[in-house]
Amino acid sequence: MSTPAMTPPVPARMAGEHAVAALREGRVVLTMSEDTAEVLRHLVVELATELAAPRPPSAPARRWWQHRDDQDLEYRLFPAVHPDPVVEARFGDERRAALRAEVLAAARRVLAVGSFSEVRIDPAEVPDWIAVLGHAQLRLARRDDLRVAARARRGRPDAVAVTWLVFVRGLLVTTVFPGLAGELRKLGAEATVRRSATGRRSAAHDLGSPRQRP
């Protein structure tokens, strides 16, 4: 894990000082502080490097729990689609190779913008950004890893990086889809009312976009 030290703290109420997004003339303008931009760009470079030169399959697992598909990066990014293992074995490698090439191409297009300090994203480029930030996140943490937030609060660099990738991706999609942002706000308000009624606090992982955090 070679992620540089994360100067930005875990995204929270002050995250707007490190990353903001706005719609201007039909494009998303994503603005990040220098250190946030540098770290996120570095994570995308690392993703592109790994996709361009995939590691050979890891050594056979020595423990039963090491047999999980997601121990291998390519299987973690592009898990099985067909429930039938025979069909998946027949077509899975081809599908994964095609997807790897597609995400790598997207990562290269994203990196071609240069510094992430201020990025102008056309609507047609939004899927590239969502894909690349998402796969950079999956490179660092399993999909079902619900303890990332707790690890980030303890300052683990990979977990902090994941929270920033989630935060910036959330900023992007809620800016691109204001209707979705509105629906999420409604959802957040309903959850707040329910919590008030039951006196329960929200689960730490129960977050939509960081923008919707109370």
């Binding site: 689609v81 429930p83 039938d84 969502i130 894909a131 796969h135 959330g170 942002a181 999420l184 959802l187």
Partner: protein, 84 residues
């Protein structure tokens, strides 16, 4: 692999529960559904652990949807329903 008359379902697992916004936006981009419909399907996945987010008439169409969702970082699976 593609029984005549059988419909294919694209299922999504609740493995991205940290990020409703991204799952819903991926559904909007892939399936061209409205924000409230995308959110409804996303929340169904969260509620059930795994739920259908799209249907397809044949395996090719189902695989194309699944590939698009995987490109956007989700992990769909396909399910073939019994023939009609």
């Amino acid at each position: 692999m593609n029984a005549p008359g059988a419909k294919w379902s694209v299922l999504l697992r609740d493995d991205a529960r940290n990020d409703i916004a991204t799952v819903a936006s991926a559904l909007m981009l892939t399936l061209h559904v409205s924000a409230d419909e995308a959110l409804r399907r996303t929340l169904a996945v969260r509620g059930l652990g795994s739920a259908e987010v799209a249907t397809a008439e044949d395996v090719g169409e189902a695989e194309a949807i699944a590939a698009r969702l995987q490109f956007l970082g989700l992990s769909p699976t396909l399910f073939q329903e019994a023939g009609r």
